[in-house]
């Protein structure tokens, strides 16, 4: 049970959050992707061993969705800025 830095509430126990998985942007124009590229977006993941950028939802708190950088080897975690 690690601590997650909620940008609004501060550090809180992991139990209060729901993971949103690795931070990927939805393509701005899905129609421009061919079928294979769209399937890649839908299903495949980097699943990085090391530092990942990912979404969390403070479901049992302020209900903010936010991004962190977390090391999947040791749970070292720090706030990340939202993508532009």
């Amino acid at each position: 049970m690690f601590l997650i830095p909620c940008p609004f509430c501060g550090q809180r126990n992991e139990e209060e959050f729901v993971s949103g998985g690795e931070a990927r942007r939805r393509p701005d124009d899905p129609a421009s992707l061919d079928d294979a590229a769209w399937a890649d977006h839908l299903f495949n993941r980097d699943n990085t061993k090391g530092v990942v950028r990912e979404w969390w939802w403070h479901a049992r708190g302020c209900r903010l969705w936010f991004m962190v950088e977390r090391d999947t080897l040791n749970q070292a975690i720090s706030p990340a800025e939202k993508p532009p």
Binding site: M1, F2, N13, E14, E15, V18, S19, G21, E22, D35, A36, A39, D40, L42, F43, N44, R45, D46, N47, T48, K49, V52, E54, R70, T72, L73, N74, Q75
Partner: protein
């Protein structure tokens, strides 16, 4: 017996520890149950004995040595039922096949029914499983208590037990023995099992694999088979392949040994806990996965607390029984929670990954089918639905039933 009288000085090595050769016909990455079983079947069924199994640590040391040893086939979708029932049957004869006691104990499993949605789900599974003659029948709460007197029936309970689903073919096996048995048999058939050999790169030329870079040098092979758990994405990335997989921690724990008190595998899907008692007397208990990706082989204590709370709710007399040891494995969860046994867009590269929490029970059938795929290039019918192309083709095998409700 003869060995006993000679003070066991003459037992020979279960497997050799050879130096890797410069090249093989097939290199299998991952010396767990899946990799070893695949090597065994390549040699036995297809006459391909020039095979190396590369293991970065000690064989059987990944999820093969960390799971909760359950073997069952009570799945939801028809292809899954067919596959896991085949595997379950192979387990029944595995000790004789390998001449090594894997201690398969066909003691049956009870899935508790505590919601009406689960009742419907069980009926569906029961009828689907009947197509492959796998028994899965509904039993009464009284029958549950007769089989598991530890369970307390409380009509006022938060989730009263409405009934159970009895899966008599299910059982447990000794996880280490499965790895060792296959290792011994594969080694005897000429397979080189190379431990402490971590793959660091996959060589390719012209869209095909040619070999692997390892911590013990380069090993060439025209066919490379990935049979790893907890690192599927990392290994696939070495060949430039992205997989529909996320790696998450799955925890388990055992009690200290107790006198026999549980003769079946007991599963409580509503509260996410299941348990069995090993021959040694330990209760071995598993629950839900942690809710984040990780490669750390450790989990969060609140997940254990939830599993234990469910356990105590069902069996309050376990209150003073103690957790002796807890651990976590890293499981590779595919997008649709079904495995991927498949050729890949990279020529000569095969994958047997994404087993989630179900890898142990799949070992015999997976080894058999994956070996055939590698040997012939064609998937046998049993694993055809589990190809990697199923996502692009829009044919996932979604093993989690949608939440049922009546609106």
């Amino acid at each position: 017996m003869r060995n006993a009288l000679s003070y066991h000085e003459r037992w020979s090595e279960a497997w050799r520890s050879p130096e890797p050769k410069p090249g093989y016909d097939v290199v299998i990455i991952g010396g767990g149950g899946h990799g070893l079983a695949t090597a065994y079947h390549l040699a036995r069924d297809h006459g391909i004995g020039n095979v190396a199994v590369l293991e970065k640590g000690w064989l059987g040391g990944g999820n093969t040595g960390r799971n909760t040893v359950t073997v069952r086939s009570n799945y939801l979708r028809d292809p899954s039922i067919r596959f896991f029932e085949r595997s379950r049957r192979l387990y029944e004869d595995l000790s004789a096949t390998l001449n090594f006691n894997v201690m398969f104990s066909r003691r049956g499993q009870i899935d508790l029914i505590q919601t009406w949605a689960k009742w419907r789900d069980v009926r569906r599974r029961s009828l689907s499983m009947a197509l492959v003659d796998a028994e899965y029948t509904i039993i009464t709460p009284g029958e549950i208590v007769r089989r598991v007197p530890l369970v307390e029936l409380d009509p006022k309970a938060r989730l009263p037990i409405l009934g159970g689903a009895w899966h008599p073919g299910a059982g447990i096996a000794r996880h280490d023995a499965v790895a060792w048995g296959y290792a011994r048999a594969a080694d005897a058939a000429g397979v080189d099992i190379i431990q402490n050999c971590e793959v660091t790169g996959i060589r390719r030329a012209g869209g095909r694999v040619t070999g692997v870079e390892t911590t013990r040098g380069t090993i060439m092979a025209p066919r490379i088979s990935v049979a790893v758990a907890g690192h599927a994405s990392v290994v696939a990335a070495m060949a430039g392949l992205r997989l529909p997989i996320e790696t998450v921690p799955l925890q388990a724990f055992v009690s200290a040994p107790l006198k026999p008190v549980l003769d079946v595998v007991l599963n409580c899907p509503a509260l996410h806990v299941y348990l069995a008692q090993t021959d040694k007397g330990e209760l071995i208990i598993g629950g839900g996965a942690d809710g984040y990706t990780s490669y750390a082989q450790r989990g969060s204590i609140h997940v254990i607390e939830q599993s234990v709370a469910a356990l105590i709710d069902l069996m309050p007399r376990l209150g003073r029984v103690a957790m002796l040891r807890q651990w976590a494995g890293m499981i590779d969860l595919a997008w649709d929670t079904s495995p991927i046994i498949s050729t890949t867009p990279v020529g000569g590269l095969f994958v047997d990954v994404g087993w989630g929490s179900g890898g142990f029970k799949a070992i015999p059938a997976s080894g058999e089918a994956f070996a055939q795929l590698i040997a012939t290039g064609e998937p046998p019918e049993l694993i055809r639905p589990f190809g990697l192309d199923r996502f692009l083709r829009g044919r996932p095998v979604l093993e989690t039933a949608g939440a049922s409700n009546r609106e």
